[in-house]
């Protein structure tokens, strides 16, 4: 049985529209106008048990809508979903015992209480036997290293600490699928790395299927076995992350800030996109190893105050996918989208 199966899934929203100004407001009272927005438009895919799938796309692409339909939060307008063999719309309660979810922007923790109080509540909600619960909590507390702040009110935790607690909350009942919607949003580099390591560990050790949405190309690179890209409600890419990286994450941007003014910069590779007295921004290719060579050069040559490495933005990746699609369309390829299974 597949972990997730989706056939011709659609979701439309009715959105109220109003003309500007007072007259527009009055008109909207007596004769409201609505437009139909296609958030998800006939998508098809499936996920194998134990896979980590990154479901990515820019804002408004339809990724959160899809994850909410898969987990039973939203009802589809059409098509068919099977999550662990169940229809999430009609078997929501049964399914909720088998899935866990973390929505980066919505907390399931009681903010004024320590996380352990919410864990106790969730243990009852998920009807977990007390002995099993205590053992599971002990294991998760160790794995996620949350012991030092387990008794601290959630509102006093850092974003990274809170997110670790959110994931623990979602794993207490040993779900078979974990839905993560923007799990690393707003986190610093270290916190992101910790979250990624933990997700990988639980996927490997417990075989949990992970379905995650993210804006961060780094999440995709580090975590996902497979990458699906959605834009304007339709799938535009579905292939292994290895191929995705090879195809679309070909360069990184390095930003260095210096303690002493920049002089004698003679590195000949890459594209300098920003340069002033104490700062340099340069785009470097991963394929030809120029990133490694530049880092070595910079460390040898400059007195570095800070260094940051950025992935290409999701918008840039999507535009590259479209660019490639257009090229392929011009070459008379039959498919408008790139779907490899």
């Amino acid at each position: 049985m597949k972990a997730i199966e989706v056939h011709n899934l659609r979701k439309t929203f009715r959105v109220k529209e109003k003309s500007p100004g007072t007259w527009g407001s009055l008109k909207a009272v007596f004769k409201p106008e609505y437009k139909i927005v296609k958030a998800v438009d006939s998508i098809n895919f499936s996920v194998e048990p134990g896979e980590i799938v990154a479901f990515i796309g820019p804002n408004g692409a339809g990724k959160s809508t899809t994850i909410k339909m898969l987990s039973g939060i939203l009802f589809p307008s059409g098509g068919r979903i099977r999550t662990l063999g169940l229809d999430p719309a009609s078997h929501r309660e049964q399914l909720s015992f088998m899935i866990g979810s973390v929505f980066g922007q919505k907390s399931q923790l009681w903010l004024h209480l320590p996380a352990c109080d919410t864990f106790d509540l969730l243990a009852k909600i998920y009807e977990i036997n007390r002995t099993d619960y205590l053992q599971r909590l002990s294991d998760l507390t160790k794995a996620f290293e949350i012991e030092p702040f387990l008794k601290t009110p959630v509102r006093k935790l850092s974003l990274g600490e809170r997110m670790r607690c959110e994931i623990v909350a979602s794993l207490l009942h040993r779900p078979r699928i974990l839905f993560l919607d923007e799990p690393t949003i707003g986190l610093d580099v270290i916190a992101k790395q910790t979250i990624r390591e933990i997700i990988t560990k639980f996927n490997t050790e417990e075989g949990i299927t992970v379905f995650l949405t993210s804006h961060d190309a780094g999440d995709v690179e580090v975590l996902a076995h497979r990458t699906i890209v959605i834009n304007h409600g339709t799938l535009v890419y579905d292939d292994s992350t290895e191929n995705f990286k090879k195809d679309y994450i070909k360069k990184k941007t390095v930003e260095i800030s210096l303690n002493k003014p920049l002089r004698n910069f003679d590195f000949e590779e890459g594209l300098v996109t920003e340069r002033d007295k104490y700062k340099l921004k340069i785009e470097l290719s991963i394929d030809d190893n120029s990133l490694n060579r530049f880092l070595k050069y910079a460390i040898d040559q400059f007195d570095i105050n800070d260094i940051n490495i950025f992935d290409p933005s999701m918008e840039e990746i999507i535009s590259n996918i479209y660019l490639e699609q257009n090229l392929k369309t011009k070459s008379a390829l039959p498919n408008a989208t790139i779907i490899h299974q």
Partner: protein
């Protein structure tokens, strides 16, 4: 995996406990509400003493000033303990947070009622304790009976449930009408006028009193308050009957709206 009916019920008790715990960490919140009850008792005493003196009577419908002040105190104690959950539900529907709560293995309306019941307990206990002390010092004691106390508290519990179910309906109406604020405002004002908060129903003229007693607004907290102060078994059974009728009517309506409305719920960002 799910185990038994006991487990299914236990989750709502745990919800009451976490609601209670989330409030007792801020004792100033519920202690300050207690101060408001003292002020109310003092105002009510002055108001009804002057009114009774102006009318030249010591009792109206067998209720003296002390009875009326005690009833008003209990009404206020319960009123200040109840969380107006219509607004947070309505807001959570509008900002999309409601949708996320639906995806857990519980019956969401019952879960919301349980957590808010727990949140109200420290407020009720403080208000009630402070109110009893204030009434005792200002107007003296009234005749409490243990049986009356038990029956009154039972009516208070059902009154809370009735209020919660009506608030749920008003909150969930946001799935269709976007802003349930006006409905919430009307219901609160109806409770204030016809629910015994400003004029105890006991002193209303005959026909009007009977109508007010039957309406749900008085069954939220007035029925419990009056039974605590002046217990009468027949009246208790009548009030209990009214409460159960309204809880059934509004409970079924809430159930219908929840089942129908949950398909309309939309979540921000998708």
């Amino acid at each position: 995996m799910p185990q038994s009916y006991t487990n299914k019920i236990e989750k709502y008790f745990e919800a009451i406990k976490i609601g209670f715990r989330s409030e007792i960490i801020y004792p100033f919140n519920f202690l300050s509400e207690g101060i408001l009850v003292i002020i109310k008792v003092a105002i009510m005493t002055a108001l009804y003493t002057a009114s009774y003196q102006a009318l030249g009577v010591s009792e109206i419908n067998s209720f003296g000033v002390a009875d009326i002040v005690w009833i008003s105190m209990i009404v206020e104690s319960i009123r200040y303990s109840i969380f107006p959950i219509a607004r947070p539900i309505s807001d959570s529907i509008r900002d999309g947070a409601f949708a996320y709560q639906v995806s857990k293995p519980y019956y969401l309306p019952l879960y919301i009622l349980s957590t808010t019941f727990g949140q109200g307990i420290p407020f009720f206990l403080t208000n009630f304790a402070v109110g009893i002390l204030a009434c005792y010092l200002i107007v003296g004691a009234v005749n409490f009976t243990l049986f009356g106390l038990i029956c009154g508290l039972l009516l208070a519990f059902f009154g809370y449930l009735l209020d919660g179910v009506i608030f749920l309906i008003i909150g969930m109406s946001a799935m269709w009408i976007e802003d349930s604020g006006p409905l919430w405002w009307i219901y609160n004002k109806a409770k204030f006028i016809l629910g015994g908060a400003i004029i105890p129903i006991a002193i209303l003229p005959g026909g009007l009193r009977e109508i007010a007693e039957f309406l749900p607004f008085s069954q939220v907290y007035y029925s419990a308050a009056s039974m605590l102060v002046k217990f009468d078994f027949t009246t208790f059974l009548t009030y209990l009957g009214y409460q159960l009728i309204w809880i059934t009517v509004f409970g079924l309506l809430a159930l219908y709206l929840f089942r129908k409305g949950v398909r309309h719920v939309e979540a921000n960002g998708g």
